[in-house]
């Protein structure tokens, strides 16, 4: 049996009295596309931030590919193969799209390969998301949808084993979302994908399995059909509807 790529045990993060993430036991198999859903404030972003090391846990452990990464600084986790794309678009606005992606590529080329290798890797990532023609445009001048794609390209160029996408389709048009779904499927051929998403049609189309968070806890997990039928999940969403 294959080992999970990512496992968390009893993972918690408290902010004062607020239990943003509360004893999360979670595991993710290699090659999976996993969606994390839940009402606003359920702790989804906090959970993936714990995984990628942007914040440190109050308690619990995180294992990635057989290594305990609980206390590893974020940049070392990225080097192990965990890439995170930001919820709020966080590209380098004053640098060109090419330079944004080149920063990812040159990081993976630690053996000091030539400029040519950087160019090749950066253009490949830009082509994959369809931004090759805009390589020279400053990132801040790209349309919003293109900035989101650039975020993904920066993650891709890191050649991650686990790509974490935090609400990637937020603010995209229907046409753009369609292209995005195809892109994620393509990425999932090489990498495991963990995606936080509010857009249910996207989740249902993409995810192999879905994990549902509510008030910091994992309340359900299963394939899309199971989750759709789960009454507890329906309650969590309907219960949150007034807030």
């Amino acid at each position: 049996m294959t080992q999970p790529l990512l496992t968390t045990r009893g993972l918690s993060r408290h902010f004062g009295g607020l239990r943003a993430v509360d004893s999360a036991d979670f595991s993710l198999m290699p090659g999976e596309i996993r969606a994390i859903i839940g009402p606003n404030g359920a702790g989804k972003t906090t959970f993936v931030s714990l995984v990628c090391g942007r914040i440190l846990p109050s308690s619990g452990t995180i294992d990635f590919a057989g290594t305990d990464i609980t206390n590893l600084p974020a940049y070392k986790r990225v080097r192990l193969g965990i890439a995170y794309t930001f919820q709020v678009t966080s590209v380098f606005a004053n640098l060109s799209a090419y330079d944004n992606v080149a920063l990812s590529v040159q990081r993976t080329l630690t053996d000091g390969r030539s400029r040519g290798a950087v160019r090749e890797g950066a253009m490949k990532a830009l082509e994959q998301v369809g931004l090759a023609e805009r390589a020279g445009t400053p990132a801040g001048q790209l349309a919003y949808g293109h900035q989101r794609l650039l975020e993904v390209a920066m993650g891709l160029a890191l050649q991650p084993r686990l790509l974490i996408l935090d609400e990637p389709t937020q603010g995209l048009s229907d046409g753009e979302i369609e292209g995005f779904v195809a892109l994620i499927r393509e990425i999932a051929l090489d990498a495991t994908v963990l995606i936080i998403e509010h857009n249910m049609p996207v989740v249902m189309q993409l995810a192999h399995r879905i994990t549902v968070f509510d008030a910091g806890r994992i309340i359900a997990e299963g394939d899309p059909a199971e989750i759709r039928a789960n009454t507890q999940v329906q309650e969590a969403y309907l219960g949150a509807a007034h807030g």
């Binding site: 940049y75 966080s90 380098f92 920063l103 040159q106 990081r107 890191l158």
Partner: protein, 320 residues
């Protein structure tokens, strides 16, 4: 980055150095002396620019790195009988050590706290110099004798107090630091520094150890500034605590802002500009600070990115 633009960029920098070399023969005595000083101080500004312009770290304590080079070489000559080149290396070593220690501590903070912490270190440094006035001469400073400022290479000896030698030595230092800076900012390391300036959190999440990169920038910056300080002591023969005062932490910031932060030639342009505005204004009126102030206000209003920042945006987009 095409080969043509690389050739163009290096060509421009070579041309600047050639013009400065020609000025050695063309400038009248007064301006010749002023320019030698400007070249050394522009080197100081380039060191400051690496950290402030490229890595985006605003230090208010860089006088201590300049002074580390100044005192490192000056004290080594006065008390240890070092030769010129050994004293220069001693100055560099002091700057490297001080910037490493200050960097390790100050980089635990960022933003305004970083400004204050660097300023406090610099204040402690200048107070230390004054406290040990028995050796440092306190605020009177030390004068290095002409005999101790002769560089011997093999059989030849160069008197660093001779105006032409002094000018050319200052130009050599300036040119070396200019081309090293150019190489740094065009390297992968340079791009990471810019990325840290633009968005540190994102840079970290691309797998970069931002602390280590910032520390390297502090040390390189400190060494460049110390090189300028050591050269100042050797070329002008005076080592004084006013060079460690807060004024000399603010000045490089001013020169860099005026010339254009994060441009390789901005520190030179800014230093020349401020020096000459000051010089010309003070020859007409005792209220010269008012004129310098007005010039700076105009610059901030019409070219907030400095002179070369303005030129780059308007005319020459490829300016590094």
């Amino acid at each position: 980055m095409t080969e043509a633009s690389t050739a163009r960029i290096y060509g421009l920098h070579m041309a600047v150095v050639v013009v400065l070399f020609a000025l050695n023969f063309l400038l009248p005595d007064y301006h010749h002396g002023l320019f030698a000083r400007i070249l050394v101080l522009a080197t100081f500004a380039m060191g400051y620019n690496l950290l402030f312009g490229y890595a985006g770290l605003l230090s208010l304590g860089h006088a201590m790195f300049f002074a580390a080079g100044l005192y490192g070489s000056g004290l080594a000559i006065t008390y240890l009988g070092f030769g010129v080149s050994a004293a220069f290396v001693a100055g560099l070593g002091c700057g490297a050590l001080l910037s490493l220690v200050v960097g390790l501590l100050a980089l635990r903070t960022s933003g305004v706290a970083f400004m204050i912490v660097t300023m406090m270190f610099a204040q402690a440094f200048v107070l230390t110099i004054v406290y040990f006035n028995q050796w440092t001469g306190g605020d009177q400073g030390l004068v290095l004798q002409q005999a101790s400022r002769i560089l011997t290479v093999g059989n030849a000896s160069l008197d660093l107090t001779a105006p032409a030698v002094r000018y050319l030595a200052a130009l050599l230092l300036f040119a070396i630091v200019l081309f090293v800076t150019l190489a740094i900012v065009r390297s992968r390391f340079g791009r990471v520094l810019v990325a840290i300036r633009e968005n540190e959190e994102r840079t970290r999440m691309l797998g970069y150890d931002t602390f280590a990169n910032k520390l390297a920038a502090v040390v390189l910056s400190g060494v460049f500034c110390a090189a300028a300080g050591a050269a100042y002591a050797l070329l002008f023969g005076y080592v004084g605590s006013n060079f460690a005062s807060v004024q000399y932490s603010i000045l490089p910031l001013l020169w860099v802002l005026a010339g254009g932060a994060a441009t390789t030639l901005g520190p030179l342009v800014g230093t020349v500009f401020i020096y000459y505005v000051t010089d010309i204004a003070s020859s007409y009126t005792s209220a010269w600070l008012l004129i310098v102030g007005a010039a700076l206000v105009l610059l901030v209003l019409f070219a907030p990115k400095g002179i070369l920042g303005f030129v780059r945006r308007r005319w020459i987009g490829w300016l590094p």
